[in-house]
């Protein structure tokens, strides 16, 4: 029998037993630092800055849906007080105007929602109002999309579909500079 060299006798292996421990350590680090909660919110496209105020008095009164939120978080919609819960339905009726009433918008493409708030308005109330107005449009888009393509409206739809929907019911929301009431 040939004499074994010292090299052969050595086991050429790294002990991998501690590998699991190292991996565990890293795993626990990432478990602790991780935040899976993703960020969701209402996506808004702000209008570009311009010095002059947009003049909505030029528009026909029937096409403007003015929403005022005051510093007491009360709602005034087209000179009428309203509860936030009723806003969505009312806005939908205004935009679509299914009964062709003369005091509501001529057609969805002409409808303009004008939102105005005080500097003292609660952010939560403001967002709730914005949410309801956006919701009104979302519901209308869903309805139209169901009628046209048989599916619900969503941001994942092909661009052509979304363009077709938006051409019929564009989202027009103008925000006026707030009035200086009730600032903290």
């Amino acid at each position: 029998m040939a004499k074994k060299s010292s090299r052969d006798r050595m086991k050429n292996e790294i002990n991998a037993g501690s590998m699991a421990d190292i991996a565990f350590l890293l795993l626990i680090f990432f478990l602790v630092t991780t935040t899976i909660a993703e960020d969701k919110g209402i996506l808004v496209k702000l209008p570009p800055w311009s010095e002059e105020e947009p003049d909505i008095t030029k528009l026909k009164e029937r096409n403007v849906y003015s929403v005022l939120v005051n510093a007491q978080n009360q709602l005034l919609v087209r000179e009428q007080p309203m509860r936030i819960e009723d806003l969505r339905e009312n806005a939908q009726e205004f935009i679509a105007n299914p009964m062709k009433r003369p005091d509501l918008s001529e057609k969805p493409t002409k409808a303009i929602i004008s939102l105005k708030n005080d500097r003292g308005t609660n952010y939560e109330t403001y967002l709730k109002v914005y949410n309801e107005l956006k919701g009104a449009y979302n519901d209308l888009w869903n309805e139209l999309c169901q009628r046209k393509f048989g599916i619900d409206y969503s941001e994942e739809l092909p661009v052509a579909y979304r363009k077709a929907i938006k051409a019929e019911i564009p989202f027009v929301l103008s925000e006026a500079e707030p009035t200086n009431f009730g600032e903290e």
Partner: protein, 156 residues
């Protein structure tokens, strides 16, 4: 001796742990991929309101965060209780916004810059005054894609 007990005696009772590192590594890689390191410690109290018409923010690297809320307890002695804005990890004024936006912008590849979104994480109790100032500043700086951060209304 019976047939069965013989077989049993020969079998190795140990479960092999050789694949344990692989399993742990798999978990590790999962967490490494989904993880987003907490970039800043919040110095203001932010409890975002509830909303239903939500959009998910896609690429985290294209989002910059602006926090608005009342300073937390340990900062109230220095900064008072009036709502303040936090950019990055420190308190900031509205006039600091342009620099903040620019600093974030240079980190983003040019092709993706139009899709940069500002996430406004605002506490529900804050009044609109400061939010309005921030919005005006964002508009003046051409940062028009804004996301009002909100939580989903629990359904039940």
């Amino acid at each position: 001796m019976s047939k069965f007990s013989k077989k049993r005696g020969k079998a190795d009772p140990e479960v092999s742990t050789a694949s344990l590192p692989d399993i742990i590594f798999m978990l590790l890689f999962f967490f490494m991929v989904v993880t987003v390191l907490r970039d800043a410690e919040l110095k203001v109290k932010v409890i975002t309101p509830y909303a239903s018409e939500l959009t998910k923010l896609e690429e985290k690297s294209l989002v910059n965060y602006l926090y608005i809320g009342k300073p937390t307890k340990q900062h109230q002695a220095t900064y008072g209780t009036k709502p303040r804005m936090q950019l990055g990890d420190k308190f900031a004024e509205v006039r600091d916004i342009p620099l903040f936006l620019e600093k974030h912008k240079v980190k983003v590849p040019e092709a993706k810059r139009p899709r940069i979104t500002s996430s406004l994480r605002v506490d529900g109790e804050v009044t609109m005054g400061i939010v309005q100032d921030v919005k005006t500043s964002l508009r003046k700086n051409g940062q028009l894609r804004v996301n009002y951060s909100a939580k989903k209304v629990p359904t039940n």
